[in-house]
Symmetry: C2
Subunit: 203 residues, 2 copies
């Protein structure tokens, strides 16, 4: 099992390679990847070598090949059906974010307790009470929790009961989940803390 | 300069310690911190030893002392004034997120091109064209960019011109900034990719 921080670097490489490919580039150097991701060229080369990618000395790496190999590793070489619970501010931003779709994460179900029937793309907002029924029909792979924290555990229980094994949680609460369910808690203040750290060492 | 991944761990510890303190706990073990953050007890002890925190064998660490030391390192032992540009879905979620305020990140300016004059807490939405004037009065430390990507560079230029040295960017575009400006790009799909990685290795 690859360390989490390596997966995060692979995710950054993947983003950079997609951008380069979109611009029509064919080759990229470890220096180029380093400049665009902030990862040292050494670490970039180490990561790629670990996954069997060795590039051509003095030339670099074939972008398409690199991108495909990384996608296989992080699982973005296939589509995943995502259920999102909570269509408030944050949820509203996530359902319309094209970055998820381009990486194979397809919004396949939107659940809330209000605005039922509202249309988003080709989806309609469903009531959370109908989660299990809809999950049986659609088959969700991943769940995203963006409801107020007092409802987060209950929503997690519903998702897990319907077979979801991986959850992205934005609610500021530690969720209680079985051992075989992967949960990732996102706290955006962590990013602000990374900035305040840099600001305070510069003072 | 501490590696970014260490700062991210410190941020997780800080969150866990704050929760424990709120519950009235006084002591915590490296095992306890490990269980709540997913960081190995070994790494937890390593991190704390590096910062001069050694705990008491068989007992653990003093939560208050640990929390205060970490806050000093990541800069959350003081307040920072934050300007946010773009009060759409994502921006709307960020201005009302209590997690920022509890860590000393104070929303001190909200800017958009519409809904000018709308009230949020004790702030009014201002037009981005007035950024510089307001920045002179308020003195922003950090900027958050949550506008559509086509406007992000322009907003970054405005923030930097007014003296902001650290920016959190959510727009899916690489921003061009001077060497002395710290920029952190957040892509939430990275978290979904961490989940798809775990899902694919389990298959
Ligand atoms: N992790 C972070 O950094 C961060 C940042 C901002 C917000 N948040 C958190 O994300 C969550 C959402 O934030 P927001 O600003 O979008 O809040 P919001 O109040 O705008 O949206 C919450 C939505 O959840 C819906 N909801 C309530 N109970 C529900 C249930 N049982 N099932 C389905 N939907 C339900 C509400 O009707 C509403 O539409 C909150 O928990 C907030 O604290 C986290
Ligand atoms: N990084 C991620 O994972 C992630 C996830 C979701 C959204 N996003 C990005 O975050 C940004 C905001 O997303 P959203 O869903 O809130 O979009 P949104 O369209 O709801 O909000 C954008 C807001 O910016 C305002 N705006 C436009 N031009 C402006 C300017 N020059 N100055 C100030 N404000 C201006 C708009 O009036 C609007 O209120 C987008 O760039 C989106 O792609 C990123």
């Amino acid at each position: 099992k690859i360390p989490e921080v390596t997966i995060m670097r692979l995710s950054s490489y993947s983003r950079v390679l997609n951008d380069a490919l979109a611009k029509g580039d064919k080759i990229i150097s470890s220096k180029g990847i380093s400049a665009l991701t902030g990862v040292s060229p050494d670490q970039v080369r180490k990561d790629f070598a670990y996954f069997g990618e060795f590039g051509v000395r003095g030339i670099g790496y074939n972008i398409e090949e690199l991108k495909n190999n990384i996608s296989k590793i992080i699982g973005t070489d296939r589509n995943w059906k995502v259920a999102i619970a909570g269509l408030g501010h944050l949820g509203g931003s996530l359902v319309s974010y094209p970055g998820f779709l381009t990486r194979g994460f397809i919004m396949a179900g939107i659940f809330d307790v209000k605005n039922i029937g509202e249309k988003y793309g080709n989806l309609y907002v469903e009531h959370i009470d109908n989660f299990e029924t809809i999950a049986k029909k659609v088959g969700f792979d991943l769940g995203i929790i963006v409801v107020p924290k007092e409802f987060a555990q209950n929503v997690a229980d519903i998702m897990i009961k319907s077979g979801i094994k991986a959850i992205l949680n934005f609610a500021p609460i530690m969720l209680d989940v079985p051992e075989n369910v992967e949960i990732k808690n996102v706290d955006l203040s962590m990013f602000l803390e990374m900035l305040s750290y840099y600001m305070s060492i510069k003072m």
